[in-house]
C-alpha cells in the first residue's frame, strides 16, 4: 500500500499502470519505464554524457576499445580500436546528431584523385553504415575520411555498433583503396 501523488488528469494512466504492476510478470512495463527513466535522468545526450556511458559499456569492458576525451572548445571522444590496428575513431554529438569518424589518408598521398574518387563512388556501398568524404584540417591539409551519422538519442548499443563497424570499415577501406596511395 502506497500513496501516489499525480496530476488529476493522469489518473486513467495510473490506473492502467497499477493494474499492470499487480501482475506477477510486469517485465514489459518495467522495461518500458526504464527507457523513460533513462530519458528523464539523462536529459539531452552530449559528447560529455556519452563518454562515461562508452567507458562503462561493452566495448570498454572487453578491452577492445579505449575511450578518452579530447579537450577543447568542442570536446570530442577519441576511441582507440585495439582490434583494428589501434585506429582512432572520433565521436562528436551536436544537437540531434552523433558522428563517428576515422581518417583514411591525406589527399596529398593519393596518386590520382579522379580515379580514386571514381572507385570510391562505385564501392562505398560495400562499407555499411559509413560514408566517405574529404575534410580539411584547420591548417588546410585535406584528408579522406570515413564516417557514420546517427541520432544522438540512439541507444548505447547502437552507438557502440556504429563505432565498431566504422573502425572495421576504416581499415577495410584503407586496404581497398591502398593501391591509389603512394
Amino acid at each position: 500500500m502506497r500513496e501516489v501523488w499525480i496530476l488529476p488528469q493522469h489518473a486513467p494512466v495510473l490506473l492502467k499502470v497499477e493494474k499492470l504492476l499487480r501482475k506477477p510478470n510486469a517485465h514489459p512495463l518495467i522495461h518500458a519505464l526504464k527507457g523513460v527513466s533513462t530519458a528523464m535522468t539523462n536529459g539531452p545526450v552530449t559528447t560529455q554524457t556519452l563518454l562515461p556511458d562508452l567507458q562503462s559499456g561493452a566495448l570498454s569492458a572487453s578491452a577492445r576499445y579505449t575511450f578518452s576525451l579530447v579537450e577543447g572548445l568542442e570536446p570530442v571522444i577519441q576511441a582507440v580500436a585495439h582490434e583494428h590496428g589501434d585506429v582512432y575513431v572520433y565521436i562528436a554529438v551536436t544537437g540531434e546528431i552523433a558522428i563517428a569518424q576515422a581518417t583514411l589518408f591525406p589527399v596529398t598521398r593519393v596518386r590520382d584523385t579522379a580515379r580514386l574518387n571514381d572507385r570510391i563512388l562505385r564501392t562505398e556501398k560495400l562499407f555499411d553504415l559509413a560514408n566517405i568524404s574529404i575534410d580539411a584540417h584547420p591548417d588546410g591539409e585535406e584528408f579522406y575520411v570515413i564516417y557514420g551519422a546517427l541520432r544522438a538519442t540512439s541507444s548505447l548499443s547502437d552507438i557502440e555498433f556504429e563505432i565498431d563497424t566504422l573502425a572495421r570499415n576504416a581499415v577495410d577501406a584503407a586496404a581497398a583503396y591502398r593501391e591509389f596511395v603512394k
Partner: protein, 244 residues
C-alpha cells in the same frame, strides 16, 4: 529546401574557385544557420497567422449563429402574419387581410435578405477554413524543414568538431608517432602484427618439426640404423680384447 541546396552548391563552386576548400564547410554552416533562422521566423509568422485566422473564424461563427437566430425569428413572424391573414380571410375582414398580407411580404423580404447574409457568412467561414488548413500544412512543412536543416547543420558541425580534434591530436603527437594516425597506418600495423604472428607460427612449426625429427632419430636408433647406446659396450669390448 531546394533553395538551400542551390545556395550550398553556389558556395561550393565559389570555394572551389578560391584557394581553400575548407570554406565550403564554413559556408555550409553559415548558410544552414541562416536558413534555420529564416525558417524559424516563417514558422512563427505562420503560427501567429493561424491563431488570427482561427480567431476570425470563431468570430464569424458567432455572427452566423446570431444571423440564424434572426432568421428563425423572421420565420416565426411570417407564420404568425400568414395565420392572421388566413383568420381574416375566413372572417371576411378585407382591410385586415391586406394589412397582414403586406406585413408578410415585408418580413419575407427581410427573411430573404437574412438568408443571403447567412450564405455569405457560410462562405466566409469556409474560406477561413481553407486558410486554416493551408496554414496548418505550412506549419507542419516548416517544422519538417527545420528538423532537416538542423540535422544537416548538426552533421556539418559535428564533422568540424571531429576534424579539429583529430588535427589537435595529430599536432600534439610525438614525431615518432605518425602525424595523424589514419586507417592506412592501422592497416599496416595490422599487417605487421599478422606477419609477426605468421613468423611465430613458422618458428613454432619449425620447433615442432625438430621435435618430430628427434622422435624420428629415436625410431631410427631403435631400428638399429643409428648406433644405439648398446654400440658403446661393443666398442669397449673391442678395446678390452685388444689388450688380451
Amino acid at each position: 529546401m531546394s533553395s538551400v541546396l542551390s545556395k550550398l552548391w553556389t558556395a561550393l563552386r565559389g570555394a572551389a574557385n578560391e584557394a581553400g576548400e575548407a570554406a565550403v564547410d564554413v559556408n555550409a554552416t553559415r548558410i544552414l544557420d541562416q536558413e534555420i533562422r529564416d525558417a524559424d521566423n516563417e514558422l512563427r509568422e505562420a503560427r501567429i497567422a493561424l491563431a488570427g485566422m482561427m480567431g476570425k473564424q470563431t468570430v464569424e461563427r458567432n455572427h452566423l449563429a446570431e444571423k440564424q437566430a434572426k432568421l428563425e425569428e423572421y420565420a416565426g413572424y411570417i407564420r404568425q402574419t400568414l395565420a392572421k391573414q388566413k383568420a381574416a380571410e375566413s372572417a371576411g375582414q378585407t382591410a385586415e387581410i391586406a394589412k397582414h398580407a403586406s406585413l408578410a411580404q415585408e418580413v419575407a423580404t427581410k427573411y430573404a435578405e437574412q438568408e443571403a447574409l447567412i450564405k455569405a457568412s457560410d462562405n466566409v467561414i469556409a474560406e477561413y477554413g481553407k486558410n486554416v488548413d493551408v496554414l496548418k500544412q505550412k506549419i507542419v512543412a516548416g517544422e519538417t524543414a527545420i528538423r532537416t536543416l538542423k540535422q544537416r547543420a548538426d552533421t556539418v558541425k559535428a564533422k568540424q568538431h571531429v576534424i579539429k580534434a583529430s588535427a589537435a591530436v595529430a599536432a600534439a603527437s610525438s614525431s615518432t608517432d605518425s602525424r595523424a594516425r589514419n586507417a592506412l597506418d592501422s592497416l599496416e600495423r595490422i599487417e605487421k602484427r599478422q606477419e609477426e604472428a605468421l613468423a611465430q607460427m613458422d618458428a613454432a612449426n619449425a620447433l615442432s618439426a625438430e621435435s618430430t625429427g628427434e622422435a624420428l632419430e629415436e625410431r631410427l636408433r631403435k631400428a638399429g640404423v643409428i648406433p644405439s647406446a648398446g654400440a658403446a659396450s661393443d666398442v669397449l669390448a673391442r678395446f678390452k680384447s685388444e689388450g688380451q
